[in-house]
Symmetry: C2
């Protein structure tokens, strides 16, 4: 049973969606984009000796947890009078920023790597973003986007660097806490680190408010071949395009998040991800493959004993599988 | 601002998802399928002189409001010890029943019309449903499914007839009331009538509990060429496959829902639906085209004056557009 009436220093608002936490966001709230992120269900499932807390954060207006960050970012852009922005993305972040920016009248340039998933592309076209295709990988798209923004005098608003994005993703920690109290471990798919850093910020704020006595241990889950926190492997994980980011700009902060929570990093392969993905689909969680890395990691850590029996483990499921056709 | 603490005869549970209303559902709750439906955001937007309350009910585990009905139906099937069922569907209902049934160990037969949207098909295959293709339309799929169920001695569990489905969809009324109080009008995309009848039941229960003094007016929105409540038009609406159901089995109940709420029926064309769909996408509401019929209907009724200025109108957005690739 969930408890509903936590204190949060008396600053919760009576909404059943992310606006519940407006009092903790660095925006005035005079303009909020119409696709308001949901409070997503957290579902407990016993996984052998472990209590799995699956947070269905793919049930968001743009189909991923990134909507939390985009919602806050766009509200802030409007407050600042900015009406044209530049992003780089493998797809989800661009889709998310597009659905929040376009109703706000903000023109969105997206720099995409050559290997972008075609299904995500057609939605971006439908939504009227300005697409810039880059003959190169995800890191090259990032470099080209920043060059373009500088040359044209436009705001670079990718979640990789923008602090408002993390203000949005921190609300996952708030919700998980209200829904299922304090987990022992939190597993975060980690490429650019915006979920990891958001969770870290959220739990730290809960600690400061006196809601929780200490932080849960954060575990960064990475894709093999694209590790930045774990040692780089040779073999590449082909099922984790959402976190295939080998050189995230906030690496030092990400390391601190692990250190300060007594956490660590784990990297998973294609077959491990695939097996976990099948399990999730069979459980009725219709997610994209990147979302499966957290379960793959949990299974490994149960085997090695790094996550002990009886632990309560939060598994955010980050991206919708409805796009898989 | 939403009010959170309604009474509901003291029977609300402290969840931030559909389990909040378990006390009002005809299931024991010992088994609940893992893909728990969300409480979806309700977003107010001023539409000229009208207050539009957009309920983002496409943010559900299977991408449509139907998950509410499937969740209750499958919980009940498990209580009854049923492990194989037969459905007919144009796609959304099958996807929804599949993600709830498969983790429960229930085998799902789906009878599909020839014109099924291919994107929905590939997900059904991925989820392990048993597909039966019917050389005919939606009504023919319905007849063939019922024949098959009878011949094989299996349960026919389509939402068209099953009463548990409506018990689930009634929770949309509960949520909308908690989020935005009592609307003057509620527009429901209406083919088989499971949303219309669910809303009717939900608001009637609120009236019985003493929460609301009278029912809002229910407006059934139909697709031109497929009308059952409105007069049948010649021209067919090609953008509303979810409600292209010309002979719904519960027609008499649907008529009563309109009569008893002083409601009526309106039918919209392809161009009207398309214009409304573009508007919704531009507002950041990534929905499938069937969902747009409610806004198309509202625009028409504003023009004709049938919905007067200053009215509060609930517009449930029923299906996700993430499938459109």
């Amino acid at each position: 049973m969930e408890r509903e009436h936590y204190d949060f220093s008396g600053n919760l608002l009576p909404y059943f969606d992310m606006r519940r936490y407006l009092g903790f966001l660095p925006i005035g709230g005079t303009y909020l984009p119409p696709p308001v992120p949901a409070i997503t269900p957290t579902v407990s499932l016993q996984l052998g000796p472990i209590f799995g807390l699956f947070k269905l954060d793919y049930l968001q207006p743009g189909g991923s947890f990134k909507d939390r960050g985009s919602f806050v970012t766009v509200a802030k852009l409007i407050e600042e009078g900015i009406d044209e922005i530049v992003l780089d993305s493998s797809g989800n972040a661009a889709l998310s920023m597009a659905i929040h920016s376009l109703p706000a009248g903000i023109r969105v340039h997206v720099f995409l790597p050559a290997e972008v998933v075609p299904q995500k592309l057609s939605l971006l076209i439908r939504l009227g973003t300005v697409l810039h295709f880059v003959d190169g990988d995800r890191m090259e798209a990032h470099r080209r986007a920043r060059e373009f923004a500088e040359r044209e005098g436009l705001a670079y608003a990718s979640h990789w660097l923008n602090p408002y994005f993390i203000e949005g993703t921190k609300t996952i920690a708030f919700e998980a806490y209200e829904q299922a109290d304090i987990p022992d471990y939190v597993l975060a798919p980690t490429g650019s680190g915006t979920l990891l850093l958001g969770l870290w910020k959220g739990f730290r704020e809960l600690e400061k408010m006196g809601e929780i006595p200490e932080l849960p241990r954060l575990i960064a889950v990475q894709a093999s071949g694209y590790e930045s926190l774990c040692e780089r492997s040779n073999e590449r994980n082909d099922l984790a395009d959402g976190i295939a980011i080998p050189e995230p700009p906030r690496l030092e902060e990400m390391k601190r998040a692990l250190e300060e929570t007594n956490g660590f990093c784990v990297s998973v392969t294609t077959p491990e991800t695939e097996e976990a993905w099948d399990w999730l689909m069979g459980a009725g969680f219709l997610v994209e493959s990147t979302s499966a890395v957290v379960l793959a990691a949990l299974w490994r850590l149960m085997e090695t004993g790094e996550i002990p029996d009886g632990s309560k483990v939060l598994l955010p499921l980050t991206g919708s599988g409805l796009k898989l056709t």
